[in-house]
Symmetry: C2
Subunit: 130 residues, 2 copies
């Protein structure tokens, strides 16, 4: 697919992928995509990332069911970042059971957790997944 050729895949073959809640506008997650992940995202209509820690494709929500349904895909001017507008199933994007991964805010020189856990991760995952 020629649209994928336009991206600057970088030394590791990756681009940054930012998922934003299409309804609330909240930034939920920042992850990574290689060419295969972006192609899979387009084909499925759900976010598929490249897990750097596990070195494999990661269909987000594959275990938790908390998939991200893609409503829009954008690239930036450098073509080395992707922005996804998503419908976050269950309203939980973070493996900690929170709405978003950005649940810590800088206040007076330290990171303060501002967001509640909506669901106990032990109830979300059978084994390692995020």
């Amino acid at each position: 697919m020629s649209a994928l050729d336009e991206l600057s895949w970088g030394a590791e073959g990756l681009v940054a992928a930012v998922a934003q809640d299409a309804a609330s506008g909240r930034v939920l997650t920042v992850a990574w995509m290689n060419r295969e992940a972006l192609q899979a995202t387009i084909d499925k209509g759900e976010a598929v990332y490249w897990s750097r820690s596990r070195q494999r494709l990661w269909h987000k929500g594959e275990q938790s069911g908390h998939v991200q349904k893609v409503r829009e895909l954008r690239i930036d001017c450098d073509a080395d970042a992707v922005l996804l507008q998503v419908e976050q199933v269950a309203g939980i994007a973070c493996h900690t059971g929170r709405e978003r991964c950005f649940f810590r805010k800088l206040e007076d020189g330290r990171w303060v957790t501002t967001d509640p856990v909506l669901k106990d991760p032990k109830l979300i995952y059978k084994d390692e997944d995020r």
Copy 2:
């Protein structure tokens, strides 16, 4: 500053930095920060990135005047990405003269430019800056 020790700076010493317009919620830019850049961002209250192409600190807007005034700083669960809520001076974040860098949207298999140029880049920059 101990808050900076909590970040996972990665192999290259960088984290991804997403700037979101504090008023509109639009994602404006994705860039990179090293430890020095994040410290400078905190100290100045304006976004300072690490330019990978120029291999130097980049105080965004240093030439254009289009600085990003930081209203809030967050980190994600992995501590390898930063989210900035910013007031984008002049309402132009992209070096192409557009509001945001994510001005291209996937439509029927190709990237379509959806956002207008608000100001001619030639009128913004004296020489190379973004």
